[in-house]
Symmetry: none
Amino acid sequence: MEKTRKSGTTSPRLSREESQARTRERLIETATRLFVGQGYGGTSIRDIAEQAGYSQGAFYSNFESKESLLLEMLRRHMAGEAAHLATLSERAGTSLETVLDDLEAWASTLDQDINWSMLSIELQMQAQRSTTFAVAYRAVWQQHRDALAVWLAQLFAAHGLQPPVGIEALAASFMALAHGLALQRASTGTEVSGRMMVVLLRGLLAMARPA
Amino acid sequence: MEKTRKSGTTSPRLSREESQARTRERLIETATRLFVGQGYGGTSIRDIAEQAGYSQGAFYSNFESKESLLLEMLRRHMAGEAAHLATLSERAGTSLETVLDDLEAWASTLDQDINWSMLSIELQMQAQRSTTFAVAYRAVWQQHRDALAVWLAQLFAAHGLQPPVGIEALAASFMALAHGLALQRASTGTEVSGRMMVVLLRGLLAMARPA
Amino acid sequence: MEKTRKSGTTSPRLSREESQARTRERLIETATRLFVGQGYGGTSIRDIAEQAGYSQGAFYSNFESKESLLLEMLRRHMAGEAAHLATLSERAGTSLETVLDDLEAWASTLDQDINWSMLSIELQMQAQRSTTFAVAYRAVWQQHRDALAVWLAQLFAAHGLQPPVGIEALAASFMALAHGLALQRASTGTEVSGRMMVVLLRGLLAMARPA
Amino acid sequence: MEKTRKSGTTSPRLSREESQARTRERLIETATRLFVGQGYGGTSIRDIAEQAGYSQGAFYSNFESKESLLLEMLRRHMAGEAAHLATLSERAGTSLETVLDDLEAWASTLDQDINWSMLSIELQMQAQRSTTFAVAYRAVWQQHRDALAVWLAQLFAAHGLQPPVGIEALAASFMALAHGLALQRASTGTEVSGRMMVVLLRGLLAMARPA
DNA sequence: GATGAATGAGAGTTCATTCAT
DNA sequence: AATGAATGAACTCTCATTCAT
């Protein structure tokens, strides 16, 4: 499979692997768009393949099943979020204002990337129904929550404060709020910006006692 | 199925309307249970009718379509929530502790009545997909948000405080949080209790400036 | 379901049940024809429904699955064969010539009813692949073999002869021969009549020792 | 898959033709195994290629189509059986016991080589469906029957007996019985050994009149 | 000669909905 | 009002086969 792939010098045409990677990429893009717009259950493989410009068979050359495509999306989702959180954590020791700006920036990313938010909710709904998927989803979710918890812990510690509730419950709540807002935006069109998260965090800091 | 068969001659009280109301009621109950467990898309009318002990035709004698059943549910959901909010509002003027206890009580209702929470999310997902439904959903949602906003306004006013952000955004955020937590509970099994809402509200009060 | 079915006096139209029975019958007839001609695997439900003049859905209103249709066929096959064997057994005590004529008559039934023979082979092939089906098939097959064995035992006893091999093995062999001849006829067009069975039985009687 | 990759420089003996022959051989072996276990229709080319350690394309480099592979199998089947019959015929003039032992040996070969038996039935089923295939099958089948008929004729002649029915019908019947028994064994698990053939032949000899 | 991604047709099955009874 | 057989469209998925590499 990877034997003769030195690809010469310029390669005016796509090699086999490149071509398949492209197909796969297009299918994922199309599927993401459709899942967001019509939901996982409301999107057929026919739709995905057709809109991506391929046959249904092409889908099955690239993914084992509809659910395995969703798992692939979950993996990518995870990778993206992990990167965000890493950035957040890196700067957790600096001034409070900087840190809260970082949070707001992250939150507004969620706001803008409505796709990911809705997809994330699709993922959660699917997790409720498929055991296979639930296991995978839970693992990813815990990783996120833990990373966020670490960041929050650093934040409170840096200001000599004691969090008013368990740090993991706090992290979970922020994630819940982000998802809830995304759902609300999608279903009612209301724009309650990610700023709310900053406001709430400020409130928590305001009420916290010294450690 | 064989319950009202003998009523022909002797039971003048279970009139046709009452009998149909009963059918309707049972269909709604069964449908709620199934939607919560398997989702709107994952539940067939055959399932609903069968489990309720009727035929598919009986369903269509009572509802125009699958979606119109969901609209009926939405109406009932609304009525229930309105009642809750009314209670909450009634006592908004009393001591802070009482009021926060009320909030926590309401929040824990959401916690316990996982059925309604999940159904509520199903409703939101459906609102994203069906224009008909979206219009109805938005109206109901705004009523809720406004009632909650009024309650929050009373709360801040009673303590001579100025809310740190628009009162409607605040109300919307609390609803988003409630839904996000329900979704989280369903998909990850995590129990971050409705207490978080009280904690956050305390934080907001702690950071608020005098009016 | 059976409540108001007194059917009056003449019923110019088909009642609900009659109408469905008709549909079911037509589907089975069509399916038999197609299975015989193109095999079980080679016949699609689409084909069956279309050729019978119904929708695919109608098929599923009448049968749970493709295999359950085959099971229904097996049941009918069994009933038919059982009737044949009963007739055979009834007259087992009469003169040898009569009895052998009966056997030949039965064998030539197999000959002529090529449909059943080929279907029977389809059933056997399916039994090799589906566990569900194998269990059902084995039960039916054993019943047949036992009935045939009883008949053969009566035959040998009536002439004071001792069968040269176990009576059940003998019965099984006759069934195998009947199926093998059917298969041969279908695949090569060769007409080796069911008379062979009579010839072989005569041979067995000729070589048998007194009991 | 990785076996012949190093042969580039040092192995002048595994020529292209030999290498291809090897591929072909492995595909046939694997296909035989799979057809027997899952049937012709139940076996995909993907399965065959994968299990043999090749790509689907390799299959099509070696065979025109799925059916042409089956034709190749038929050819080999024929060759093998022809060899058996030749051995049988060679010794047809010796004592009756020897000859019947030979028959039983052949029959038990069929018994043991359940693979060939089931494949043979697959071939017959396919012959019923494909005209191309049917023509080829019929030719092979007639050759077999004729060879067997010659052997039977020699047998009767050697004992100065006159066969009770046409010698070709007799041969066809024995083949039918062999196939029927194989089918029975596969579908019901019943072991009615090939000894039955010997018993029946003895019966025929017992009832035969002098020539 | 061998690869395997992609095709296109078709498989079995499900489902919201209709309508004669 | 209630029945449930029948519809017709859509579903996920499989497969023999093709063809650029």
